[in-house]
C-alpha cells in the first residue's frame, strides 16, 4: 500500500485534503455549494483540451477554471445566480464531452477525469499540486478574519473597509486553485464532496471558529486516507469512497447535533 508508485498519491491526497477543508469551510458558510460543484466541472474540459493539444493537463485545468470563475460572476450579475451556475456547468461539460469525443481514448479518459484516478499523479504533477496547496493555505490563513466576517455579515464587514466584491473574487479564485489541484486525484464530481462534507460535519459539531476549522481538516484528511486505502484494497474507484464517506460523516454529525440539542435545556436570558 505504501509502495513507491503509491507515494505520490498519498502526498498529493494529504495536501489536497488540507486545502479542501480550509476552502470548503467557507464554501459552507457562504452557501456556495452550487459554485463549488460547478467549478470542478468547469475545469473538466481543460483537462480534455490539454489532452487534445498535448500540453500539461494542469495548464488546461487552470485556464478553464479561471474562465469558469469569470463567467460565473458575469452570469450571476445578469440573472438568477443558481440558474446561471447550472447552465455554465452544463455548457462546460458539453464542451468537455466534445473535446473528449475527438480523442481516441474516449471512455477511460472520461471516467478518470470525472471520478478520479488513484495513480494519476506523476512526479512532474506532484510539484505544481504541492505549490498550489501551499499558496492556498497561506492566503487562506492570512485572510481568515476578513473572510469570516464578510461571510457571516457582509454589512458589518463593509464597515471595516472589507469589500464584499473583492472577498468574493479572492474566495472564488482560491476555490478554483483547489479545484485544479484536486481534480486529477478525486475527479471532477467528487472534489465537491471533499469540499463540503467534512466542513459541514465539523461546523455542526463545534461552535468555535478555529476548533471547527481544525476538525474540518481532520475529517478531510481521514476521509481521503481511508478512501485511498479502501480503493487500494478493493480496486474500486476512489471517488466512490470519497462520496460515501462524505455523506456518512455529514449524516452522523447532523444526527449527533440533532440529538444533543434535544437534551440541552433552553437557556432563557432577559433584560440587559
Amino acid at each position: 500500500m505504501f509502495s513507491s508508485f503509491m507515494i505520490n498519491t498519498w502526498i498529493a491526497g494529504t495536501a489536497i485534503a488540507l486545502v479542501a477543508a480550509l476552502v470548503g469551510y467557507f464554501v459552507v458558510i457562504r452557501h456556495s455549494a452550487f459554485a463549488a460543484h460547478a467549478l470542478p466541472l468547469g475545469a473538466f474540459p481543460g483537462a480534455a483540451a490539454a489532452n487534445l493539444l498535448g500540453v500539461n493537463p494542469f495548464v488546461g485545468l487552470l485556464v478553464f477554471v479561471g474562465m469558469g470563475v469569470l463567467l460565473l460572476r458575469q452570469l450571476a450579475r445578469i440573472g438568477r445566480r443558481d440558474v446561471g451556475t447550472g447552465l455554465l456547468l452544463v455548457l462546460f461539460l458539453g464542451v468537455g464531452a466534445l473535446f473528449l469525443s475527438m480523442t481516441s481514448e474516449y471512455a477511460p479518459e472520461v471516467f478518470s477525469l470525472l471520478f478520479g484516478e488513484m495513480l494519476g499523479i506523476s512526479d512532474a504533477d506532484l510539484w505544481p499540486i504541492l505549490g498550489i496547496c501551499a499558496l492556498v493555505s497561506v492566503v487562506m490563513i492570512t485572510i481568515f478574519r476578513p473572510l469570516l466576517l464578510d461571510s457571516s455579515f457582509p454589512d458589518l464587514a463593509a464597515l471595516q473597509g472589507i469589500s464584499a466584491a473583492r472577498m468574493d473574487l479572492i474566495f472564488l479564485s482560491l476555490l478554483a486553485l483547489v479545484t485544479a489541484s484536486a481534480l486529477p486525484v478525486v475527479g471532477a464530481f467528487l472534489v465537491f464532496t471533499l469540499l463540503v462534507g467534512p466542513p459541514a460535519a465539523a461546523q455542526s459539531l463545534s461552535i468555535h471558529p478555529l476548533r471547527s476549522l481544525l476538525l474540518a481538516v481532520i475529517f478531510a484528511e481521514s476521509s481521503i486516507w481511508s478512501a485511498i486505502a479502501l480503493s487500494y484494497w478493493t480496486n474500486w474507484p476512489i471517488g466512490f469512497f470519497v462520496g460515501m464517506l462524505g455523506a456518512g460523516l455529514f449524516t452522523l454529525a447532523r444526527s449527533y447535533r440533532h440529538w444533543s440539542q434535544r437534551e440541552r435545556p433552553v437557556v432563557q436570558v432577559s433584560g440587559l
Partner: protein, 273 residues
C-alpha cells in the same frame, strides 16, 4: 450649547440612487454626548442617510465629516448596528467571536485570543449584558440577543459615534427599555454620540436630546422641545398626531382613524344588548 467641536458634521449632502434623487441638501451637526433620533416616513431616505454616513454609499454632493475628517478615513470612530440581523444557525461563531471580529476583523492572520483581546471583548460583552450567552452559537440566539451581540461588536472598538438602524423594532417592552437604558449610559458615561432611527420614538424621548427629521429627502433638525409638538409632528408625518404629557413623561400618539368612532359605537351597542 457646547463649545466642543462636532463629532459628526453633515453639510449640503445630496445622494442619488439608481438615477433617483434620495437626499437633497441635508445638513446637521452632532456633538459628543448627544442622542439624536432620525425620523421620517417610510421611504424618506433614513437608511440611505445612515449608509452614506457610514461611507457605504457615495454622495453626489456635500460633505460628511466624522471627527473632522471624511467619513471613510475614520471608520474606527463609528459603530453601526443594522436593522436586519439574521445569522445562519450553523455559523461556527460564538457571540464572543463575533464581538472579537468587531475589534480586528479587518486584520490578517488567524484569530487566536490573548489576554488583552479577551479582556476588551469581555468588557464589551458586559456592557450589553451578553455574558450569559457569550459562548453560544450566534445563529441560535433569539433576535434580541443577536441584536445585543451586534451592539457589542460595534462597541468593542470604542467608537465615538454609534449608529443604530431601527433598533427598537421587534423588541418587547422590557428589552426596548433595557436598550434605551444602555444608550443613555453610553452618552452620559462615555460621552458617546448616538444616532438612532425609529418609527416609534416614545421609548427614546427620556434620553433623546435632538431630532433630525427627513421629509421628501430634505432634512431639518431641532431639539425635543421644538419638534415634539402636535402641530410640528402632524405636519412632518402628514397625519394628525397628539402629544400627551403624563406623569412627567411625553407620549406621541397618532390620532385614531376616522372610522374608529364607528367601531367604538358598535362595541358599546354590543355591550348594551
Amino acid at each position: 450649547m457646547t463649545n466642543q467641536s462636532p463629532i459628526l458634521a453633515v453639510a449640503d449632502l445630496s445622494v442619488d440612487l439608481g438615477g433617483r434623487s434620495i437626499l437633497r441638501d441635508v445638513s446637521f451637526d452632532l456633538y459628543p454626548g448627544q442622542l439624536c433620533a432620525l425620523i421620517g416616513e417610510n421611504g424618506a431616505g433614513k437608511t440611505t442617510l445612515l449608509r452614506t454616513l457610514l461611507g457605504l454609499i457615495t454622495q453626489r454632493a456635500g460633505t460628511v465629516l466624522i471627527g473632522a475628517a471624511p467619513a471613510r478615513e475614520h471608520r474606527e470612530l463609528v459603530g453601526y448596528v443594522p436593522q436586519k440581523i439574521n445569522f445562519d444557525p450553523d455559523l461556527p461563531l460564538r457571540t464572543r467571536d463575533l464581538v472579537r471580529l468587531g475589534l480586528d476583523g479587518q486584520r490578517l492572520g488567524l484569530p487566536f485570543f490573548n489576554g488583552r483581546t479577551r479582556h476588551v471583548v469581555d468588557q464589551a460583552l458586559q456592557a450589553v449584558g451578553a455574558e450569559d450567552f457569550a459562548d453560544q452559537r450566534v445563529g441560535e440566539l433569539s433576535g434580541g440577543q443577536q441584536q445585543r451581540a451586534v451592539i457589542a461588536h460595534a462597541l468593542v472598538r470604542k467608537p465615538r459615534l454609534l449608529i443604530l438602524d431601527e433598533p427598537l423594532a421587534n423588541l418587547d417592552f422590557g428589552s426596548a427599555n433595557a436598550l434605551v437604558d444602555l444608550l443613555g449610559r453610553l452618552i452620559v458615561q462615555q460621552q458617546m454620540t448616538v444616532l438612532v432611527t425609529a418609527h416609534d420614538m416614545n421609548p427614546l424621548i427620556p434620553v433623546m436630546d435632538r431630532l433630525v427629521y427627513l421629509v421628501d429627502g430634505r432634512a431639518a433638525t431641532g431639539t425635543v422641545a421644538e419638534v415634539v409638538q402636535a402641530e410640528v409632528l402632524s405636519k412632518l408625518y402628514g397625519y394628525p398626531v397628539s402629544v400627551l404629557h403624563h406623569g412627567g413623561r411625553i407620549l406621541v400618539l397618532p390620532d385614531a382613524p376616522e372610522n374608529a368612532d364607528v367601531a367604538n359605537m358598535n362595541r358599546c351597542a354590543g355591550h348594551g344588548v
